[in-house]
């Protein structure tokens, strides 16, 4: 039954100094969901950019419906019926949903060449309804949530009657419920005979969706397997190339005295009645659906956006925080969710990034002492095993995982008591995940109190001591992680549970 709709043979691509793809092959059957997996930088993104014609391969051939084709630009791939939904949603916030769906293939009247808005709005509405979305296509894209925007992207793909739809880490920014929705839609597409290429490194995605999987590692083709012949561990092996003995290293910490307490924290229209306590050496997971207000709570604690009611207590003393500066001074650090946008200055050397939060430490009355900066940086990033050649490397040259470590390094230079990590493993490959969990463990051992915001049930269960579940701006439940199950947490997050002990 080898009638492939899309087939690539011996595809290679080289960027200045980087071998991005090396003799990769791939085939895709109509009506299948084919998952491409691999760590960050394995070449997944380059691979699909080649299929969609953003990049042109140096070598290799490509067959569409058995016929060799050459794709010179995104237009060519669109003509063939290949549509892509990118990792970082590539929409136009200022334009209407309709336009976002029809951009590039607007409906225009044959004669006057003018855009036929009514037809487009109508068609857009159908498409959205097909996908079970209810919002009005006339509204501005910028007002939608990430999940809704992705639905729009899919609608866009449908609108061109794509035969091949590529999804690049679509679930990365989605909550579980939204992911469920996406799974439903994707399966529907498959059943309608669309071939779906699904790129991800979330195991769950693979287990729930894929019919087949192709694994890339370090720009190399590793292999293609049917779902049945692949289990979790073997897949990880294939991706990482070595055996991950323990994904969530458990370490024994004796939870000591309370270090930090939040009482009745509230911000109009965003969250309300947020109360929990954090103990020395404890890892507190803060979970819930995306949009439940987890990040907002953290940012209010950290002094980015002021809260309207409630109080913060550090070591039993009431504290007020009006600005991140004060938060750090008092010993509360925050690792923001948006690594590139909020965590790092990409075109800066490592040491400048690391010392940014605590420049005063490395200066006598305002004058910088770069030597000590570099020394300290060296120590700390060696401690965290950040892969770099010198402290003069630009942050941009690091891989996702190492960038994340670098931000942790920033936090460690400041002497903190409480560390808040917002989605610390988002978009980080398996190897780096383990490393980060290790670091968290060590920090806990050293008596830090850690709050970890995460959407991934697996790691919540694997890492945390207690779990705070938020739902629509309020605390739905607090669990002793050891004594709870994924189902309990999910039910709490979706609002179908009453159980859970209080703080």
């Amino acid at each position: 039954m080898d009638n492939y709709i899309l087939e690539l043979r011996g595809v290679s691509k080289t960027f200045p100094g980087v071998r991005a793809l090396d003799n990769v092959r791939f085939d895709l059957r109509p009506g299948e969901i084919h998952s491409i997996m691999g760590e960050n930088g394995a070449g997944k993104s380059t691979f699909i950019k080649i299929i969609t014609g953003v990049y042109i391969p140096d070598e290799g051939e490509m067959l569409f419906n058995g016929k060799p084709v050459t794709i010179q630009g995104t237009n060519d791939s669109q003509k063939l019926g290949i549509a892509a939904i990118y990792q970082h949603v590539t929409s136009y916030p200022d334009l209407s949903v309709t336009e976002n769906i029809f951009i590039g293939h607007e409906i225009i009247s044959k004669r006057t060449k003018r855009l036929l808005w009514n037809q487009m709005h109508a068609k857009a509405k159908d498409l959205l309804e097909q996908l079970g979305a209810s919002f009005d296509p006339k509204i501005r894209m910028g007002t939608l949530s990430v999940a809704q925007q992705q639905i729009v992207e899919i609608a866009k793909a449908l609108s061109v009657h794509a035969k091949v739809i590529i999804m690049d880490e679509p679930t990365a920014a989605l909550s579980n419920r939204e992911s469920e929705e996406l799974y439903r839609i994707t399966k529907k597409l498959r059943d309608d005979g669309v071939a779906v290429i699904f790129i991800s490194h979330r195991m769950e995605d693979f287990e729930r969706l894929a019919d087949r999987v192709t694994v890339l590692r370090d720009a190399q083709y590793i292999g293609t397997w049917d779902k049945e012949e692949m289990d979790h561990d073997r897949l990880v092996m294939a991706m990482v190339g070595r055996e991950i003995t323990q994904m969530f290293p458990k370490r024994e910490v004796t939870i000591k005295k309370e270090i930090f307490r939040v009482e009745g924290l509230g911000r109009h229209g965003v969250f309300k009645d947020i109360s929990f306590t954090l103990h020395q050496g404890e890892i507190l997971a803060l979970t819930g659906l995306v949009g439940a207000g987890r990040t907002e709570v953290c940012e209010s604690i950290y002094g980015i956006t002021p809260f309207d009611e409630g109080s913060l207590w550090l070591n039993g003393k009431h504290i007020t925080i009006g600005h991140p500066h004060e938060a750090l001074a008092k010993g509360i650090g925050y690792l923001p969710e948006d690594r590139l946008g909020q965590g790092l200055i990409l075109d800066w050397e490592l040491y400048k990034n690391v010392t940014l939060p605590v420049l005063d430490k490395f200066s006598q009355n305002g004058v910088l002492d770069t030597l000590s900066e570099r020394e300290r940086t060296k120590e700390i990033i060696e401690l965290l095993a950040v892969k770099a050649t010198s402290v003069f490397d630009k942050a941009a040259t690091l891989s996702g995982g190492n960038q994340q470590k670098l931000i942790v390094a920033k936090l460690l230079t400041a002497d903190l008591k409480v560390i808040i990590l917002d989605e610390p493993t988002k978009g980080v490959d398996v190897g780096a995940k383990t490393a980060i969990f290790n670091i968290m463990g060590d920090l806990a051992l050293r008596g830090y109190g850690i709050i970890m915001v995460s959407s991934e049930m697996v790691e919540v269960l694997g890492v945390s001591d207690r779990t705070v579940v938020m739902k629509e701006g309020r605390i739905a439940a607090i669990f002793e992680t050891a004594k709870t199950t994924q189902e309990q947490i999910l039910r709490a997050a979706l609002g179908t549970s009453e159980e859970g002990l209080d703080a």
């Binding site: 590139l340 940014l356 305002g366």
Partner: protein, 341 residues
């Protein structure tokens, strides 16, 4: 886990050293002197190098803070008006019987306040781009100057006041001395202090700075204040050179100043550039126009020359940057994605 030794020292690299934009500027600077001395027999004499700087130094005090402003990723087109206003206020104050030294302080104070006002608006209303805010205050400040002085010119300052703009110490113009002091101060501030480091940081990524606990508002305010203060200096020297003032002095200074900063290799995208470049640019444009003035080239030719100089130099700059790293349309995200790995 890595045994690999991390380098904390960076050996001297000729390539890195000589690939700096400043070298091209130095080259142009020398070239200009050579051309000029060929063109005009009057060029090469002590007088030239003593007097010439005086003809353009007044506005160059604005170049220093503008460099900070642009590195910060902002822009300030209200400086010309600030100069006019503070100068007018000083004159009015003096002619109202206030002693000259005090009047001078008032001048600096006014200018500083103008800067502070810009800063406050920028801080309180982050949604507004600096371009718009300063466009409004540009009109406002000069408007106030007109309200104060109407159609009058105001002057007859004490004689010693003219020393600021005309006097010299041991043959070196007083203005030049002050400028060198200011330049050194700004160079130090920008390249050796935490303040400067943060200015660069904010220019590259304000959010990251905020999340790293930097009081970004404070920095922004201080830069604005500095801009105002230096506008005050310009006002002092300009007024001293003119011996009198009126609401329409210092027209279009903002554009000339920005041009110098950009020619100096500071990217208006923010986060890039050093203080040396703009300072060199001051002298390049200054001596260029002076030398061409000596051969009596008409003003419009000069306009064209400076325009071309500006554009071509920026194009060269772009080439260098895009030569260094794969060109990436917009935003640092993209850079990150390209280079991750």
């Amino acid at each position: 886990m890595t045994e690999r030794k991390l380098l904390t020292e960076r050996g001297f690299s000729f390539k890195r050293f000589f690939l700096q934009w400043e070298w091209l500027l130095v080259l142009i600077f020398l070239l200009i002197h050579i051309i000029n001395s060929f063109l005009s027999p009057y060029y090469l004499n002590v007088g030239t190098f003593v007097r010439t700087p005086m003809t353009f130094l007044d506005k160059s005090f604005l170049v220093l803070p503008m460099t900070l402003v642009i590195i910060l990723g902002n822009i300030d087109i209200s400086v010309g008006s600030t100069v006019a206003l503070s100068s007018v206020v000083m004159a009015t104050a003096y002619n109202a019987g206030i002693s000259m030294p005090v009047a001078m302080l008032i001048c600096l104070a006014t200018a500083t306040f103008c800067g502070l006002f810009n800063g406050l608006i920028l801080v309180r209303f982050k949604e507004l781009p600096a371009m718009i805010v300063t466009l409004a205050t540009l009109t406002l400040y000069r408007g106030i100057a007109y309200i104060i002085l109407e159609d009058q010119a105001s002057g007859n300052f004490p004689d010693w006041f003219s020393f600021l703009g005309w006097g010299s110490v041991l043959g070196i113009p007083f203005m030049l001395i002050i400028f060198i002091i200011c330049a050194v101060a700004f160079g130090f501030l920008l390249h050796k202090t935490t303040f400067g480091r943060i200015v660069y940081g904010m220019g590259s990524n304000k959010k990251t700075c905020l999340y790293s606990g930097i009081r970004t508002d404070k920095i922004l305010l201080w830069v604005s204040i500095l801009t105002g203060l230096m506008a005050g200096f310009t006002a002092l020297f300009l007024t001293s050179r003119m011996g009198s003032t009126r609401p329409n002095v210092a027209q279009n200074y903002e554009l000339e100043v920005i041009a110098m900063v950009v020619l100096g290799g500071v990217s208006t995208a923010g986060g890039k550039g050093r203080i040396g470049g703009p300072i060199l640019a001051i002298f390049i444009i200054g001596f260029l126009s002076y030398g061409l003035g000596l051969v009596n080239i008409s003003a419009q030719i000069l306009l064209i020359i400076i325009g071309t100089l500006l554009i071509t130099s920026v194009m060269v700059l772009n080439m260098r940057i895009s030569g260094k790293r794969k060109r990436s349309g917009f935003g640092s995200h993209e850079v990150g994605k390209n280079l991750t790995r």
